[in-house]
């Protein structure tokens, strides 16, 4: 719900920093990137190139099927991810795949 015109401070000043967090830009998405946690080598590239900051770096341990233990996990915030596919394109081990959001 947008504020009324008389609720906005004079001069169009925006008083709440970072308020675009309310916008659900994930609705723009056509393709959903999905990370294969077992293939991922934690190189940080998807996280560095994400234009939205939607790839989250979380301190959560993950043990792959081959027995390699990683202290961090990468997760995609689907609330904001616009589905541009940069992460899938730049991933050096192709651990991220793009899945169609809605079936035809």
């Amino acid at each position: 719900m947008l504020p009324k015109w008389y609720e906005i401070p004079l001069g169009g000043a925006l008083t709440e920093p970072g308020s675009t967090r309310k916008n659900r830009t994930g609705e723009w998405r056509t393709f959903r990137p999905v990370i294969d946690q077992d293939k991922c080598i934690r190189c940080r590239i998807c996280w560095a190139y994400c234009p939205e900051g939607a790839v989250k770096e979380i301190d959560r341990e993950h043990m792959t099927a081959k027995g390699v233990k990683y202290p961090i996990t990468y997760e995609i915030d689907y609330y904001y991810c616009k589905g541009c596919g940069i992460c899938a394109e730049e991933c050096p081990v192709k651990a991220i795949t793009l899945v169609r959001e809605y079936e035809k």
Partner: protein
């Protein structure tokens, strides 16, 4: 001149994790400028005032009543980002002298290529000449993308835009890209750098250096940010295209620190420019002759830079055909 004491990041593993730029802004999916702004915000302190000239970043991040910025920012017109930044710097200096402000407040101006190369040039020149302590970030998407892809001074040769259409008479822009870096360097700023979004560590280090040097005088960072709708590329190609710009020699990553010119990304084997041009829809009308004209121009530019450095930092063009012939 005192050197700022900062340790540059050596690898991607050392970059800070905390997000300082709110998601949910309206920049296009795969926008190059969004990557640049995200990293710029991670680098600067909380006591920073942003001055946003009209442009893609300003329009999409501060759609009233929302803002993606966590630091104070002021929206100004196309032409006066540098002038307003100078004024804020003067006001901060005066408040500090009167003892009303005891914080170290820094000013960062963010403007696109239209607001810097064309409309805001005289304000920028004035700011650099007067030596205001402002960091100026130019995100260069090579046209007026925010108003619908009109040609700007930074648009490259033969690129399609809505005001340089491709038809029987005209085939894209007739002029070459304006050398804004040369214009800025002629003012002898404290620090000046060019970078692209594909080299994140390089870009972050340059932002940090420019931010530190802005305690002493004006600094300027020029970032090449591919634009998805304007360059006619797929959203996932943004980083790839900007990397190819460096690998083909269309763009050179360098910095000028204390008058010393240094190329930061060395390219031992250059790729032919056609690899960069053929990926983009705005160059799809180019004939082989056009590409040869651009290749010749790039060769001359590379030679000029190699002469300036005194060694071969950017190597000759190595075509893929040679590898096939050997095999």
């Amino acid at each position: 001149m005192s050197q700022p004491v900062i340790k540059p990041f050596k690898s991607i593993k050392e970059l800070p994790r905390e997000e300082k730029f709110a998601p949910g802004h309206a920049m296009c999916a795969g926008c190059g400028a969004a990557i640049a702004m995200r990293w710029l915000n991670k680098v600067v302190d909380d006591n920073t005032i942003f001055v946003l000239a009209t442009g893609c970043v300003e329009v999409t991040t501060t759609a009233c009543p929302y803002t993606a910025w966590l630091r104070p920012c002021i929206h100004v017109a196309f032409e006066n980002a540098a002038a307003v930044a100078s004024g804020i710097e003067g006001a901060v200096k005066m408040l500090q002298r009167k003892g009303m402000l005891n914080k170290d407040v820094r000013i960062v101006a963010v403007a696109g290529d239209g607001g810097t190369v064309d409309i805001g040039l005289q304000a920028l020149s004035g700011m650099l000449e007067r030596g205001h302590r402002v960091m100026y970030v130019l995100y260069d998407n090579e046209a007026y993308m925010n108003t619908g892809i009109q040609r700007s001074g930074a648009t490259p040769f033969r690129a399609w835009t809505t005001t340089t259409p491709v038809g029987k008479v005209l085939k894209g822009k007739l002029q070459w890209k304006k050398d804004i870096d040369g214009i800025v360097l002629a003012h002898r700023p404290k620090y000046m750098a060019t970078t692209t979004i594909a080299y994140v560590v390089d870009m972050v280090n340059k932002f940090r250096k420019a931010y530190e040097y802005s305690r002493e005088g004006p600094t300027f960072v020029h970032v090449l940010c591919p634009c998805v709708p304007g360059w006619r590329i797929d959203p996932h190609m943004t980083v790839k295209v900007s990397r190819l710009a460096v690998e083909t020699g269309m763009w050179v990553n360098y910095e000028v620190e204390g008058g010393v010119f240094r190329v930061t990304t060395r390219v031992p084997k250059r790729k032919p420019v056609s690899e960069y041009l053929r990926l983009q829809g705005r160059f799809r009308h180019l004939t082989d002759e056009d590409i040869q004209i651009i290749q010749k121009y790039v060769d001359e530019q590379v030679e000029r830079i190699n002469k300036m450095v005194g060694e071969t930092v950017i190597g000759p063009v190595v075509k893929e055909e040679k590898a096939e012939a050997k095999a």
